[in-house]
Structure formats: structure tokens, C-alpha cells
Symmetry: C2
Subunit: 190 residues, 2 copies
């Protein structure tokens, strides 16, 4: 889809947490392993993306922000896994989206198909964070996968101590999410 | 209200932008100048608050985060001015709230009375960002000023080139907001 000639759909996946043992980073790794045939998932860590500052941006994108834009540019679609902090999107994730959305009208994320998911040790599966995340994607005119919704509650019971996904039903939902993202990418390919 | 013996209500004010010429930082300065008698407004800059990382937190709050918590602790109430990025709260601001909300159940922001406002060069006055910000404050059980809503649209027409507020009607709304915040602080003082 992206001119590599391989024919594979390329997905860029990232999680909205910097913590090494993050369940959302673990969910992204599980997704990469569960990807359907014909899809490659590249994982991008948000470490090193600085806090957005318009005065910094005026001098050009910082190196890691540039790398993030390049990774988005070469992807056919995005997979985002969000924790929920204080009923919303973590600042770490929103900050990355803020950079990805620059400059207005010409950002690499603009119109890129996206699937979202999220994991939490708590009960409500990141429902509120996902709703907020969709608002930022609406701004960026990103076509979004609407079903399945992948909300992983009680994450401690779904991953082992090495943060490997042990819950097959969750793996099935993640795989379906990626299949739908692939379908969305095909539908929006020009 | 806070044991200083001065009898003044102490408000901590911060804006969700790092940009020096930010309209929201300018709005915070205008608020500090417009504060009613019996109210002191301390301004806190979010520079130096790092991106939230649970692995960093496990070793203790970084210095600037500790300073932020101390500033919140000694305030009777908070005044927050938010830009709107991508239909929501800037990552920079949410990140600061994420730190302020730690540790869960014992955070300094918990139950603190809050007033919010926002400025944008655009048309919609940060309405969506303010709605998201309220969600994070609900999590933190913060009593909130509900009226007046201070949404400063077309900020270029409301501030001069030195970012001084030139629009008296806006100044009146900001002052009323602070009066209501003072009333909320008095009502929740124990």
C-alpha cells in the first residue's frame, strides 16, 4: 500500500506509556504477534519525544519528533494503545499526538486510518480515555475502526508477570481489531 | 484560609502552554492583576515538569514536580488556563495534572477547588478542551466553578502584541471567575 512493493499493509503501533512494565506496551507487543497475514506491525516507543513547545517547534522538529513523523508517514495505518489517567488520555500520549498533528493541515497523521485499544488494571477498560483519544483523531480527520472496541480491564489477570498476554479471548479481539484496520486501510487507499 | 494568618485566599494559577508568547499565559497574568481584594494569585510555570513515567515516579517525584505539589498544597484553590490542541487538553497540561494527581488518593490536588478558563486565536474558545479538563478534575474530586464560563476566542483581538489583555469585558469575566472561586474556597473551607 505504501510503495514498498511487498504488498503488506504496514501498521505503526504505539502505547501511551513510558513505563517499561506498562500493560499497554505489552498489549502492543501482543498485537504485533497476533497480526494477520499480509500485515507488518512496527512498534514505536514514545521515549524521547519532548513536551510540546511552540518556541521549540519554531526552530524545527526535535530529532525524535522527526523520527515519529517519518514512522507515521511510512505506515498505512496506526494502532494506538492508551492507558487511562484521571478519566482521560495520559499527557504522554496526548503530547505525542499534539506533535504528530503539526503543522496544521499538513501533518503526517492527517487522514491516516487508526485503530485504538487500551488496557488498565482497573475495571472500566480505558473507556473514557478512548473516547477522548477519538476526539483528537476527529480533529485529524482519521478514519477510525469503530468495532470491535478493545477495552482490556483487570489487566493483571490478562498478562503474566513478564507481561505476556495470557488471555486468548483478548488476543482474538486484538486480531479482529487489526483485521478491521487492514480493511479500513484498503478502503481508504487511493 | 491556609494558616498563613494573612486571611487572604491564596490561588495557584497555571497555563497549559510552554510557549513564551502563549495567550493562556497572558490570560493567567491578566487574572493575577484582576484578582479581587483578599485574594493573592501565585503563578506557576509548567516548564521543567517532565513527562510522566511510572518508573521515574517509583524513585520519587522529580524536583519540579515536588515544587508543583508544594505550590498546590499551599494554595486554597487553583486557576487553570487551557489552550485547545486537537479538540482537547494539551498534552503539556494533562501531563502536569497527571503528576499532580499522584499518588492516587493522597494527591495534593485532591478535593482542591478549581476554576478553569482558556484562550485561543480560533473561534470556539477552548470549549472542548475545558470539557476534557473537567473530566480530570472530576476524577480528583475537585469542586469546580461552573459559572461564568471563560472562553476567550479570537485572542489576537483581545490582547496586544505584548500580550496584555486589552478587552475589558474579558477582564470582567476573569474577575467574576475569581470571585466565584473565592466563594467556592470559602464554602469548602473546613
Amino acid at each position: 500500500m505504501n510503495g514498498t512493493g511487498s504488498g503488506d499493509i504496514r501498521i505503526l503501533a504505539f502505547a501511551g506509556s513510558l513505563r517499561k512494565a506498562s500493560y499497554n506496551r505489552a498489549l502492543v507487543r501482543a498485537a504485533a504477534e497476533a497480526a494477520p497475514d499480509g500485515m507488518e506491525v512496527e512498534i514505536f516507543g514514545l521515549e524521547g519525544i519532548p513536551l510540546f513547545d511552540g518556541d521549540v517547534e519554531a526552530k524545527g522538529f526535535p530529532e525524535r519528533v522527526e523520527a515519529f513523523h517519518e514512522a507515521i508517514e511510512r505506515a498505512d495505518g496506526l494502532l494506538i494503545s492508551t492507558p487511562e489517567y484521571q478519566h482521560g488520555v495520559p499527557g504522554v500520549l496526548k503530547n505525542a499526538i499534539d506533535w504528530a498533528s503539526r503543522p496544521p493541515g499538513k501533518a503526517t497523521i492527517l487522514g491516516k486510518p487508526v485503530a485504538i485499544m487500551g488496557a488498565t488494571p482497573g475495571m472500566w477498560g480505558t473507556a473514557r480515555a478512548q473516547a477522548q483519544l477519538r476526539q483528537a483523531l476527529v480533529y485529524n480527520r482519521c478514519p477510525m475502526v469503530l468495532q470491535p472496541e478493545v477495552l482490556v480491564a483487570k489487566a493483571k489477570e490478562r498478562f503474566d508477570e513478564d507481561r505476556r498476554l495470557t488471555h486468548d479471548a483478548t488476543r482474538g479481539f486484538v486480531r479482529r481489531l487489526l483485521e478491521e484496520l487492514g480493511e479500513l486501510v484498503r478502503r481508504h487507499a487511493t
